[in-house]
């Protein structure tokens, strides 16, 4: 393993020091437990929007802290969900009368730790709700399993919930919108290489030179299916089909297309894939009305991409377009 780190045990905290130094205008960092908080929090009268999860997916979540998006992000150890006391610290630093919405990616660890934190917060008289996002179509859904994972849709959900809170929506309204987004967003990922977790020191899985993982998660969990590498045209078509058929998205739909790099994929490949997806959706009569292209929810240095489709309507489009000022997403601000 070659990484630009010191002791693997301190990699998250040391990285947060750099984040804090770089963006003091936007955010502040509390340590032990580690929490990233919007510089001007708590914002009076506003619903706090909080998310978090294991580290290693940057810019998710800390890169989305700031006006128009998250009030706080709770980074766990690499690929490990944060603990309830850290989530509680985020709630304490950001949440007032208007309450807080916790955005939780659907992994057993995240769900359990955020659940515990929400209980603790409720015990202190704060109104805290949580929503669980589970947009990954690679995983077969069932109430008897852990269900689908939360992946790329999380970025879009955080933006839209953050915009709703920023315009003054109540906790009920922000929560309802979050459920709406969760209901109409779907994603699929693919990996060409494996990430290496610092404390492990070797790649999370082994892929032969001609193999890819289709339906990869964002934690180096092996995907659903290991297949031969394919030309981009073939691969992206499989991905678009997997996503578009799941909801299903149909002719006449207006969508946001989010083409995401898992970290190690160069932009030249990412845009190439994005172009193919745009073409295929146009052929299906689906109108791509907004797009996001870049590394926004990553898996350390893993090479791969994910595609996320969110069905849009006027309200979601307006919330997506609303001003946002974070380290990773910024417009009209």
């Amino acid at each position: 393993m070659k990484k630009i780190i010191n002791d693997p045990e301190h990699v998250v905290t040391e990285s947060l020091r750099g984040l804090a130094a770089a963006h003091a205008d936007l955010l502040r960092v509390q340590y032990d437990p580690d929490v990233v908080i919007r510089a001007d929090a708590p914002v009076a009268g506003k619903v706090a929007v909080i998310s978090g999860g294991g580290s290693g997916h940057e810019p998710l979540h800390a890169g989305f802290v700031g006006p128009g998006m998250l009030d706080a992000a709770v980074p766990g150890a690499v690929f490990t969900s944060p603990t309830p006391d850290a989530v509680q610290a985020a709630v304490a630093a950001t949440t007032g009368e208007a309450g807080a919405l916790l955005i939780v990616k659907n992994y057993t660890g995240d769900v359990l730790n955020f659940e515990t934190a929400a209980e603790l917060a409720a015990a202190e008289g704060l109104e805290v709700r949580s929503v669980v996002i589970d947009d990954d179509v690679a995983v077969a859904d069932s109430t008897f399993t852990a269900g689908r994972r939360g992946v790329g849709g999380t970025v879009l959900l955080e933006k839209i919930a953050g915009a709703a809170a920023a315009r003054g929506d109540s906790l009920d309204a922000v929560e309802a919108l979050a459920h709406k987004v969760i209901g109409q967003v779907r994603s699929i990922g693919v990996a060409l290489t494996a990430p290496t977790v610092p404390h492990v020191g070797s790649p999370s899985f082994d892929l032969a030179e001609d193999e890819i993982e289709f339906g990869i998660g964002i934690h180096g969990e092996p995907g659903r299916e290991r297949t031969k590498a394919e030309p981009a045209d073939v691969l992206v078509e499989r991905m678009v089909r997997a996503v578009a058929e799941d909801l299903p998205f149909t002719r006449g739909d207006r969508v946001l297309l989010f083409t995401n790099s898992m970290g190690g994929t160069p932009m030249i490949e990412l845009y190439l894939a994005h172009g193919i997806a745009e073409r295929l959706l146009a052929e299906q009569g689906i109108t791509v009305e907004r797009r996001l292209v870049g590394p926004y929810i990553t898996s350390l240095e893993m090479q791969g991409i994910s595609l996320t489709l969110l069905k849009l309507d006027d309200e979601l489009t307006e919330l997506w377009d609303a001003p946002v000022h974070t380290t990773a997403l910024r417009w009209r601000a």
Partner: protein, 210 residues
């Protein structure tokens, strides 16, 4: 016979040692069907328990278990943190404020731990989780506790042996809970890391009790 607060503390130290020794093994098990952090998570938690105990040992077995529970909850993260944390917390509550624990208390504490893990995680036997180690362990402990003349060591040894077998039994299973469930059929053929850590910890507790 580790049934006082100090005895429980010593047993937890023994567990911490075993977890540290098996850190890489647990990482590798989790790498195969999860995200390669279980050994790191558990080790982080038990290192923190030991350093808490180094500061001071609470006065009763229940208080020691509660310290372990809150430490695991606040240090481990992931699925294992809340699950083990809840398990230890329920065990602590079950033990109450007595200054010594006997065989019945131990068996009841294990049952409480199992119920806590299942309440939080909703896993049943055969889902390929730590429950597959803990559930037979509880049954074995209860049976041993009902045996004439059994001591705490005997109860924990019975639990540990059953847990080890239970852990092994996860190998052919297809996971239905936790991260391994994403793999579907591909999860079969691998030992569940959480079941393995449960067996390791019970083994350490049993040895410490002898």
């Amino acid at each position: 016979m580790g049934c006082t607060a100090n005895g429980v503390a010593a047993a937890l130290r023994a567990a911490a040692e075993v977890v540290a020794e098996h850190r890489v093994e647990l990482i590798e098990l989790d790498r195969a069907i999860g995200d390669a952090d279980h050994g790191e998570n558990m080790n982080r938690g038990f290192v923190a328990i030991v350093s808490s105990l180094d500061q001071s040992v609470p006065g009763t077995p229940g208080a020691v278990l509660k310290l372990a529970a809150t430490t695991l909850i606040s240090k481990v993260g992931g699925a294992a943190g809340p699950l083990y944390g809840t398990g230890f917390l329920r065990a602590a509550t079950s033990v109450g404020t007595e200054s010594e624990v006997d065989v019945k208390t131990v068996a009841a504490a294990l049952r409480a731990a199992l119920e806590g893990v299942q309440a939080r995680g909703k896993a049943v036997e055969g889902d390929k989780t730590m429950v597959d180690a803990l559930l037979p362990a509880v049954a074995a402990a209860e049976q041993a506790a009902a045996t004439e003349g059994a001591d705490v060591a005997a109860v924990l040894t019975a639990a540990a042996d059953a847990a080890a077998k239970g852990a092994e039994s996860t190998v052919p299973l297809v996971a239905r809970k936790g991260r391994a469930s994403y793999l579907g059929e591909r999860s079969a053929g691998h030992l569940d890391p959480g079941a393995r850590s449960t067996a390791l910890i019970l083994g350490a507790l049993a040895r410490a009790a002898r």
